[in-house]
Each structure stands twice: as structure tokens, then as C-alpha cells.
């Protein structure tokens, strides 16, 4: 199959759109394939095993959060000077993951990258789930979660308002906006497919449920017209939004005084990193998913390869960013800045730093080779390593900078506790639980969008166009 895919790509001719869908797929078969996953009476055994594991991890997350809130942030390893630890590391990590989805659907859409159609739905879903995991951290990491609502400008008897100068507040707005818009975007794309499910539904219940959320969609051309316009507009809005979110996240650090944080290149650097990790996660999840649910023909090797190319590109950008940081630290001549970076590479946290370098800079380079790029096993390995590396990037940035700031007297060393570990594991569980449920009950692939890239979707007679 690999071979066939490659030949197809090479044989692409001008004016003739490359086939994004393999096999003899027509409109009906696409519908069948995608809806089949949802409609089959029983999901594969693997699904049950997976959801059992991830589900129990999710429960553990709940337990950890209760323990945390009832006892105090002290159950985590956070200390002085590292007042932030895994909580913010994981927050940034998940926000990063959350970037692939909207990026694929929005930016690639604007760039007319038709190959996105097979993967954008799943990617968008992942975005939402990752945002859930991310959003949880800032909420529970505060000392008094029961007054966290003060973060929002709610009129109150104190006549107090939040401080709009605080990057943390920008963050709150950015992430919540991002979550909302992504959700709208995702749901909007879902509506026609829900209608499809509605119309294929065999039982009354399904018909009612899907029917209700399909909002009475019936594929009217007038509707499609506005739908496409709205979709385009949302894409146009989401694109800067995606870029802004991680820029704002990076402001949490860039705007502060802490050496190692106080850097102007953070916004682009963070965004690149986010896309990097996001795509890695999509690959990590899609490869097994397409095997599991027999979507090979829709999510083809070409899709995966394209994503791997993006990983390679962004990975190299991240590497460049590391280099630049170091150069500026040296060139800027600020002793504290300089120390922070030397300390990262050779200080007590050197191990973390070099893990990061290996996973984020070295590993993606393998994707120069087409053989690795197109080998399912290898690409998953690389993708996972990249995710590890990106986690360590956040760890290095946050913890090593904090552990040794200005006054040597207050230098310290951060050690996580078992609660830290279990909480993080829990979020992973939450992420996969949600994703598995999504696979089971909603169309993983944007049916209507895929159909637009089928040959059948295009008028062939010249007079098809005027």
C-alpha cells in the first residue's frame, strides 16, 4: 500500500487534483466507512481495554484533585524558589498539544490544503480534550480555588476588579477564548455529519439524539453557502487566535523578571513548539486509531507523511530557537541570563536539558528520510519521543529558571511528589478517555468535507462551470 501511495503522489499531474482517498471510494462508501465505526453494535476489544485503562486513570485524577484541594498545594513538590512546578509545566504541555487541531482545520484550510479533510475532525477533537486537561491545571494549582472566580471581572461587593496588567489574566482570557472558539468551530463542522448519522439511524432514539443536534440540517444549497462562508470566517479568526494563545502563554514567562523567562523570542518559539508537539500527538493517536477503526483509506499514509513533514519543519524551528536563546544569553552579556543558560546545560538539571535536546532537535531529523517518514512504527516512536521532549522543554524552561534565580541564598532544587506524578498521569487518562468516547459516538472523519475531495464531487462537463 505504501508503494501505491507513493506512486500516486509521483504521478500527480497539473490541474488534476492528487487523489487524497485511496481505493475505489464513492460518496456512499465514504459515508458507510465513517458511519460504520459509529453504527457497529460493538467496538473492537482493544477499545474496551483502552477505555478501562484510561478511565481508571481519570478516576485517579479525580482523587488527586480532591486530595490537593482538601489539603493544600503543598502536596505537590512546589517549593521556594520553584513556586511553579509540574502544575504549570503540564499546563503549557497540554496547551501545546491543543494547537494541532485548530491549526490543521484553520490554517491548512486557509492554505487550501485539502489533505487536512481526513484528519481535521479528530485533530479538532483532540484540541478540545487537550484544552480540558490544560485548563484544569491553572484552576487547581491556585492556593484558594474557592475564590478563583475573582479572576473574572464579576461585579462584587468589594468593588474590586482583576488586574488586567497581569499576563496570567491574559492567559485566562486567551485559553478560555480558544476553548470556546475551537468548540464552536468543531461543532459547526459536525452538524452536517450528525445529519448524516440521523438519516442513517435505525433506532428512534439515535434518530432523536443525532437529529436534535443536527438542528434539522438538510444540506440545502443556501445553507451550504452560508455554512462555507461562516466556516471560512471562523478559520480566518481561529488562525491568529491559535498563534495568539501560545504567544500569550509565553507572555506568562516573557513578561516576568525571571532570567531564562524574560526573552523576546518566546512567542514564536512557543508557537512553533506547540505545533510541533500538537502534530506529534495527532500522529501518535491517529496511527493506532486508523488501524483500529479501518480508516486506512481515508486517513492515508500521505496524510501521516505530510504531518511528519510539519513535525520535521517545526522541530527544526524549535532547535533554532534553542540556539538563538543561548546565543542571546551570551551576546546580551547579562550575567544572570548567561548563568541561567549555562546552568541549564551543565547545572544540576543538565539531564533534563539534554533529554529535551535529544528528543526535540535530534530525533525529528530522522524524518528527512522518507523511509522513516512513511514507516508507521518508526513515526509513532518519533512522535512519542517528541512529546516527551516537549514536556521536558517546559520543565527546563520553568523549573531550572526558577530553581536558581538572582540571589544564591535562595537557590533551591525542585523534587516532584507522587501526587505530581499521579495528577499528570490522570490528565493523560482524561485525554484518552474523551478521545475514545469521541471515536465511539461521533464521526471521526469529516464526512461532508471528505466528499468534497472525491472525484464525484466535481462537475466534469466543461459547462459545469460558467
Amino acid at each position: 500500500m505504501t508503494a501505491s501511495a507513493t506512486t500516486k503522489v509521483r504521478l500527480d499531474e497539473p490541474y488534476h487534483r492528487p487523489l487524497l482517498i485511496e481505493g475505489a471510494e464513492d460518496l456512499a462508501s465514504v459515508t458507510n466507512r465513517v458511519c460504520g465505526v459509529v453504527e457497529r453494535p460493538k467496538p473492537p476489544r482493544a477499545w474496551y481495554i483502552a477505555i478501562t485503562i484510561s478511565g481508571s486513570m481519570t478516576l485517579m485524577l479525580g482523587a488527586m484533585v480532591v486530595y490537593l484541594i482538601s489539603t493544600g498545594v503543598g502536596v505537590w513538590g512546589n517549593n521556594a524558589p520553584a513556586f511553579w512546578g509540574w502544575d504549570i509545566v503540564n499546563f503549557v504541555f497540554w496547551v501545546g498539544i491543543a494547537h494541532a487541531g485548530t491549526l490543521i482545520s484553520a490554517i491548512l484550510f486557509l492554505l487550501r490544503q485539502k489533505w487536512r479533510t481526513s484528519i481535521n475532525r479528530a485533530a479538532e477533537a483532540m484540541t478540545l480534550f487537550a484544552v480540558c486537561c490544560a485548563g484544569m491545571y491553572p484552576a487547581v494549582h491556585v492556593g484558594r480555588i474557592w475564590v478563583a472566580y475573582w479572576l473574572f471581572p464579576v461585579p462584587n461587593q468589594m468593588q474590586m476588579w482583576p488586574n488586567f496588567r497581569s499576563p496570567l489574566l491574559w492567559d485566562v482570557f486567551a485559553v478560555s477564548t480558544y476553548a470556546t472558539v475551537s468548540a464552536l468551530f468543531w461543532f459547526m463542522g459536525l452538524v452536517p455529519d450528525l445529519a448524516t448519522l440521523r438519516d442513517r439511524a435505525t433506532t428512534k432514539l439515535k434518530r432523536v439524539l443525532y437529529g436534535f443536534f443536527a438542528l434539522g440540517w438538510r444540506g440545502s444549497a443556501r445553507h451550504w453557502q452560508r455554512f462555507e462562508r461562516a466556516y471560512l470566517l471562523l478559520a480566518a479568526l481561529a488562525t491568529p487566535l491559535v498563534l495568539s494563545v501560545h504567544s500569550v502563554v509565553s507572555f506568562d514567562f516573557a513578561v516576568s523578571q525571571v532570567s531564562g523567562w524574560h526573552t523576546t523570542i518566546f512567542p514564536p518559539y512557543f508557537v512553533a513548539g506547540a505545533i510541533f508537539s500538537g502534530f506529534a500527538m495527532v500522529v501518535t493517536v491517529m496511527v493506532p486509531a486508523r488501524e483500529l477503526f479501518g480508516l486506512k483509506e481515508l486517513v492515508t499514509l500521505r496524510h501521516l507523511e505530510n504531518m511528519n513533514k510539519v513535525i520535521l519543519a517545526t522541530g527544526s524551528m524549535v532547535g533554532l530557537a534553542y540556539a538563538t536563546e543561548f546565543f542571546i544569553a551570551w551576546y546580551g552579556g547579562n550575567p544572570y541570563e548567561r548563568f541561567t543558560f549555562v546552568n541549564r546545560a551543565f547545572g544540576p538539571y543538565a539531564w533534563a536539558y539534554w533529554i529535551m535536546i535529544f528528543c526535540n532537535v535530534v530525533v525529528p531529523q530522522f524524518f528527512w528520510s522518507k523511509r522513516i517518514r512513511t514507516n508507521l512504527w518508526l513515526m509513532v516512536v518519533v512522535a512519542i519521543l517528541v512529546n516527551v521532549g516537549m514536556w521536558f522543554e517546559r520543565f527546563v524552561i520553568i523549573v531550572t529558571s526558577l530553581a536558581r534565580t538572582y540571589l544564591p541564598s535562595s537557590w533551591g532544587y525542585f523534587k516532584p511528589t507522587w501526587v505530581d506524578v499521579c495528577t499528570f498521569a490522570g490528565t493523560i487518562g482524561l485525554f484518552f478517555t474523551l478521545f475514545l468516547l469521541f471515536c465511539r459516538f461521533l464521526p471521526m472523519v469529516a464526512i461532508a468535507e471528505v466528499k468534497t475531495v472525491l472525484p464525484a464531487a466535481h462537475a466534469h462537463k466543461e459547462n459545469g462551470h460558467e
Binding site: D26, L27, A28, T31, R144, W146, P153, Q159, W161, P162, N163, F164, R165, L169, W170, F173, A174, T177, T180, V181, L184, F185, M188, P192, T196, R198, D199, R200, G211, L215, G216, W217, R218, G219, S220, A221, R222, W224, Q225, R226, F227, R229, A230, L233, L237, P240, L241, S244, V248, F251, A448, K451, T452, A456, A457, A459, K461, G464, H465, E466
Partner: protein
Amino acid sequence: MSEAQGALHSLVAEFDDVDGVSAAARAVRDAGYKAFDVYSPFPIHGIERSMGLRATRLPWLVLACGLTGTVLALFFQWWTNGHDYAFKISGKPLFGVPANIPITFEFTVLLAAFGAFFGMFVLNRLPEHHNPLFENERFRRATDDGFFLAIEARDAQFHERATRELLQSLTKHTVVACHESGESRALPVWVRASMAGAGALALVPLAAIVAARYRDSTQAPFHLIKDMDSQTRYRAQAANPFFADGRAQRPDVAGTVEFDRFRTDPALLTGRAGEAFVDQIPLSVTAELMQRGRTRFAVYCTPCHGGAGYGDGLVAQRAATLQEQAFVPPASLHDPLVRARPAGQIFDTIRNGVRSMPAYGRQMSIEDSWAIVAFVRALQRSQNASVEDVPDAERGRLGTR
């Protein structure tokens, strides 16, 4: 299929591919129909031209929403941090645009996105869960692989037979008539009822709150988050169950001497020199002291001795009306005996009481006591003054009284 069929809604022609339906659309358009529509499982490239549709107004809506967001966000940030509660933060100006850009941007995007999302559905008149077309079982293909063209009966040109022929000429499938369903448009009673019920129910909390607002309660106010607002440290006059008397404030230890406000002058403290009472007020008698004496006299003495010191204070009067046997009417300060007393003795009386008069030493400071003495002296003088005491300048005005 509902039994009772309603009016004819439209005539529906089915097609198998894009070309067919596009061609049909053009034909119908050229035939001059307006109220017709094409239904397809995916947006058909160029169909709007084939149908002769105008571009949507959606973008303008989105733009409007976005701008609203920008303005709102900027204004709100200025108003809250710069104006309503001027935050002094990091020695920065109360308002600066750069810090407000991120949130302004996010809010702009948010509102614009709402515009696009809700705008689309509203303009499309969605949700529309019930539609005559759904009556047609074939129509299910519209979301799978079928293509349909429906001309609605409300179209000016619509003529059942002519239109049907036109359509039939375009498709190989048989054209189907689609009827409004027979059931009524109106909301059934139970729906109305339940909504009304919900509305009524919603008023209950309001009523409760109003009641609470305008009634006093012997119970402490409702309060959820109480970090730090009742702390375990002992505030003034607080309770400490540990001690048998339950008080957190502890009595002085006998025989100890305080470090501050240390004074030894017996005349000042006791009003006595040795055994005898002093007749001089050991403080310099200034107008200020006199004023002080006046207010303190009003606070502590008038209740019984009355404003002028004749022993006719309101308390005394009340005691009289209540016919309290135990109560001894307060002395008049103008009684010759009282006037004869040295300052020290009056001071002593104020501080330690005499006969039925309670001691006020623990209620007022030494200075205040002396101030009252001074004022009492003045009072006594005033009540027993002769014309000679009045300065010549003022005497004239006496006559008028």
C-alpha cells in the same frame, strides 16, 4: 407518513450526481423560479451560481461583532483598572494600551466567532427540526449520496403540473410531491403549561430573597467562604473558654507597675497632698481644658446632675417617676456645701464616688476628671454670679434679658 396530509409544500426531483443537479438548477433558474433549493451531502462547487444566489451578508455581521468586542474590551479595561478603582501597580501609569492589547484581541475574536457561528444558524433559520422534506424517505440520501432539487409551492410561477413536467424532464427519477404535515403549528397545551410552570417556579427564590432583605434576622448573616474572617487570635473583649470566667482579656496582676504613662505626683493622681485635699487644680486651666471639661461633664455628669448641675438630670427624673426607694437624688452642685469643697475633694468624688454616687475613676482619665472639676468650678461660679462678674462691655445686653 402522517395520516392527515397538509397543503402541498414542494415538488422534489432526485438526482444521482453533481452534474445532474447542477444542470437542473440552471434550468429551473432559467425557467424563472425563485423559491427552489438544491440539497446535497456536501457543498457543490459553483452551485450558487447555477442557482443564481446572492452572496451572504454574514461577513458584515462578523465584522460588526468583532469591532464591538474591540471597543468593549478596551473601554472596560480602562474603566476598571484606570478609573473605577485606580490600581497603583508597579509604579506604572494607571492606563497603558500595550498591556491591554492581548485581552482586547481575544475578546474581539471571541465576539466575531460568536457572530459567525450564531449568525450562520440564524440566517439559515436553523434549528428547524421539523421540515416537510423529511416526510420523504428518499430524502435521507440528501446527507449521503443523493442530490435533490425542490421547487416550493409558494413560488409565484409554481403551477403543479407545469412545474412537475419541468422537473420530470430533468431527472430520470419520478418527481415526488411533498406535503406539509397535517399536525398543527401551535404549541401543545402541556408545553405551554410546563413553560408557564417553570416561569412561576422561577419566581419563588426571588420572593424568598425579598423576604430576607426586608426582615431582620437573629441569625448571623449567610456566609460561605470564611478563610481568615474569624481567626483564632483573641480580639478585644473576646471569649476564651479556657478560663473559668470565659474572658480572653486577663486582669492586671496586683502590685505590678506599667512602663508607659508612669506618674507619681500624688496631687495629680489622688487630689490630695498628704492627707489634705488640694484646692488648686494641678493642671494649667486653659480654655481647652475648660472645653474638655464641658463635654466630659455633658457625657458623665448631666445624666444625674443635669445640664446646669442642679441634680435634675433625666436619670434622676426617671428614678423619681419610677419611685425608686433606693435611689438618692443627686446633690445640686450649687449647694453651698458642695461649693465649699476643695478641688481635690471634687476630684476625689468623681474618681472614687461618694455615698450613693458611683466612682467614675475607671471610666475617664485623670486629666478628664480634672477638666470636669475645672468646669464644675466655672458652673458653680456662673450660677452664683453677680452683675459685677459680667464684663462692662456685656452688661448692656443683660438688661435686654
